[in-house]
Symmetry: C3
Subunit: 431 residues, 3 copies
Amino acid sequence: MAADLRRELYEGLDALPIYDIHTHIDARNAFAGSLADIIGYHYYTELANSAEYRPDFAAEMDPDQIVRQVLERLPLFANTVQSDWLMVIGETFLGIKRSEWTSLAWQEVAAKAQKAIDAPGYRQEVLRRSGVQSIYMTNSCDEDLEGIDRRLFVPCLRVDPFVFAIDNPAERERLERASATVVRSPEDFALALRRVFNKFAAHGMAYAALSTVPNLVTRPVSDEEAAAALNQALTTGRLDEQARRAWAAYALNCIGDCCRATHKPFHLMIGVRRGAYPAGVAGGRDLMDSANSLVGYDYLFNEYWDVSFPVSVLADTSGLELAASSWIRHNVYVSGHWWYQNSPSDIARELRRRLDVVPANKLLGYYSDAYRVEFILPKFRMYKHELATVLAERVERSLTHPNMAPLDVDQALRLGKALLLDNPMRLFGAA
Amino acid sequence: MAADLRRELYEGLDALPIYDIHTHIDARNAFAGSLADIIGYHYYTELANSAEYRPDFAAEMDPDQIVRQVLERLPLFANTVQSDWLMVIGETFLGIKRSEWTSLAWQEVAAKAQKAIDAPGYRQEVLRRSGVQSIYMTNSCDEDLEGIDRRLFVPCLRVDPFVFAIDNPAERERLERASATVVRSPEDFALALRRVFNKFAAHGMAYAALSTVPNLVTRPVSDEEAAAALNQALTTGRLDEQARRAWAAYALNCIGDCCRATHKPFHLMIGVRRGAYPAGVAGGRDLMDSANSLVGYDYLFNEYWDVSFPVSVLADTSGLELAASSWIRHNVYVSGHWWYQNSPSDIARELRRRLDVVPANKLLGYYSDAYRVEFILPKFRMYKHELATVLAERVERSLTHPNMAPLDVDQALRLGKALLLDNPMRLFGAA
Amino acid sequence: MAADLRRELYEGLDALPIYDIHTHIDARNAFAGSLADIIGYHYYTELANSAEYRPDFAAEMDPDQIVRQVLERLPLFANTVQSDWLMVIGETFLGIKRSEWTSLAWQEVAAKAQKAIDAPGYRQEVLRRSGVQSIYMTNSCDEDLEGIDRRLFVPCLRVDPFVFAIDNPAERERLERASATVVRSPEDFALALRRVFNKFAAHGMAYAALSTVPNLVTRPVSDEEAAAALNQALTTGRLDEQARRAWAAYALNCIGDCCRATHKPFHLMIGVRRGAYPAGVAGGRDLMDSANSLVGYDYLFNEYWDVSFPVSVLADTSGLELAASSWIRHNVYVSGHWWYQNSPSDIARELRRRLDVVPANKLLGYYSDAYRVEFILPKFRMYKHELATVLAERVERSLTHPNMAPLDVDQALRLGKALLLDNPMRLFGAA
């Protein structure tokens, strides 16, 4: 591929503002307060833990110790794209040169970062250099949404606990508190959900967000079956496998009802096995399952035909299945490149595939999944580099392909802009 | 890759006549009679339905309305390879320039197409410009095969109803009518099949064709078990899950017996979930399952060791499993790039893999799966472009690879010709 | 990609000595004694069998007949990488030019090979030209490890029979003989294993090696459950499905215990379906299953947190799941490119992925899986060509990627050397 063409396309994409449709950023604590807030990101602790295991490290709570121990092991995973994200954050925001991460003592690295972070205008500068325009959050039902800067931050309701943790008293309490509803029956639960959705809708929520277990099965669930499951959770404090599945299906339907009523999309992130590696660091214990079928979502997608479903998949093996779903299903939208698939070669493969067979208006390009604003820039850069590559291939292919008309750079950039800006803004009502 | 090399290889492949080993073309209605016959292809109605859902569209029967509604939404999926097929058909056969699909009113587009279609010699010109030499059909058991131009059209017997719809009275009636056999027992069924196969063999059938559900299991089935299943179908009008599976396995064995007796291959197209999206347009309701194992075919492949099985898979995840099967199993042939895998990046990936590990004489290159002759050209072009790309990579790799001898363009083209012509002609007895 | 860059990288990798961490080479019979020892490799017999089936060929025992029949069909699979391995062996070691494999009579080819093999210094020359430094073996528990050249050969204990063939009296006898232990109880079995491990450890074993069935499930197994399974095996000569699974899980735990006690890694090769194609040649009857989940290994990996698990997978669909496991799990190491994945495009895909997300010190590059020393060179060349390609891409990407610092050739070669030499030597204690 002509390097000039890719560069031109990258620069065009890089000039676009960033519209980040899924993050875990806390609007009240959006920026790093110290280097530990950067280094403590699970990607670094988990790579350090994996590269050189130290028995007590996963439980380490002292931020300094975490920084020290990760930096000691940084050379072991310097090959990774995650390491590159850190290098970018260092040189762009923290005044740390690439070589200094290993040449300086960890205290010096931390001090340099602190100096940058404490400088006046740091946050504005991070936003400005990143070109961030909008940050979607992942909010718990009982989170206080008042006083958040709505020009920058968009609430999204995380619904995982309703589906997978109804047997957890603390989670039930949060729901009850958030909805001012005592939950003793499926009807109570449905009412509580409606109240939470209405509260979130009043605060401009973009969508409901759920991460799911592999091979989840959605289906109709009678009130009786749901009541029996809920009763089991309330009386025994846990659910057997059958009740767990019944409740999950029931709760999904209730959430579908609420999305329908509030005209909000239901964002699914499909296929994570939580806690697969208990010895891992916080945030680094979950894996995927390559044998993950989307067949179990037929009922949900069909029944809630009037609800939009942006969908991400964790398994690479679900890539074509998702593309095919979005290709024929009017209400399934391909969304981003999630977690274990968020690396250049997997991104590029899916991009090629999606751009060849899914209507361009069904594609939601990318989200950072970040916990701090600083990570948005390097992650979007990584994506935009692959998008520029795939678009450059497309431009070049169009010049010789017997079926194609020549595609020019402006047309290619419009395609890129559709993925990055137009489609998410239209789908989430921000246009 | 050197663009000149790819172009030279493409031109060499493009000059080959087209031998299209699987289509749904009706020999008596092989060419479009109006633009609606082109636009009505499920790829366009499903992409339009997916890109912008309109509740009544899927049930729309008025050809004009279908044309209008698809053309209105054409810009939404202009990025797809399917859109490119349409552009090629327009400019090559219908006198419609690429820009005119959107710049003209739909009535004008349709009128232009009609003028081209009604012109004398249209059909001969489509065939000539496409270079089509042979078109394999997909025929129902009761179809009239008399009077078909056998120089161009080759019958193939579709056996899906025998395997998956024995509980459908209309399908049973077709079989009974076609075979002049009352089907009340497994023995009757086997006899009916034999008669149908003999009739088709007498008409020069190429093979029996079956599309299967994901994770199908083949196995020996006793006459008693088959009789019980058939009896259930006859008396209750439906089959429970166990009986459905037993009957499918039984029927597959009967078909294997008939293939053996008539010395015809059994073409399998593996892994489609029918009706997954009921709100879809006709032909656009089926999906794949990425968790699809080929383990269930062991019995069939082993037991019918003297029957050849050309095999296509719908799931990309089955690509290496199929290649490995054809690599070691003498009677499994890799066939084409089916449906959801029929896009450039998936084609290229499988081509690289197949050419590296499967004996070249086991590879059946491509089929169009088309419903009208007009689609053969753009689909084969798409494939040939990827084949030229992969062969060009191979030629270039051979010049520097430490294990390879230099491959020249003629050798590469011979390899391409083996896939496109030699192998299907030899396997299907047309050489 | 710049051809010069790839060539420079390839030459750098090619200059490294070969450290081959998994083979089936017999130290006492490591080199071919005739052409039949090369041609008899299952890759050639299975490709010949697949390309042109001859009913009696799979049972053919006469070496001359095997050579003759394979060479007759060589042109049918001349496209494969396996054919290229043979060409390299011919021209590098056997004095057979590429054209001669088909232009000469098979007896002449065999005679040329024999002349080369019988020449003085043949074995030293093969080793020297291959640059082989270390060859890991796959040894049965009762194999005599005395008198083996330990500078070149490293024993590894194959544990498959303990896990999957406890109901086979001949296999039990081998274990009993090797351990001087009568096996009548789970305790006996555990003791026998410990004795075998201790013997192997005394002979410098590198690791225990196991190939597994798809979707294996590891779990805790009580002594009672194990005793019941073993009793079934001893008394009935076979295991029902439930007992078979229980025993496999029990035996895996015992092997984990022994690896822990002897501080040896446990090398897993995951997902082979043995005997799927009974009509195949010896060594050519096994297939993969694309629907293969690694979820069943959670227990083993978690429980034996202090044992290192180099892991290979047979299914391409397990590629990202394995990379993700090694990315977060401290004790899982990605190992090589096994069997059906051992072809250029699958190797390159996994290499890109692994180098982007797994700490570089967790990656074990390649092993030949060879039965004769002659195959090591062409197989490693094939791998090194892909590694050079991927590293060249990385170098080029680093020059324009917005997140990367320029990577130079020396750095890229250090990364390659880590995979090929540093990591296996460190993990297997040979540094």
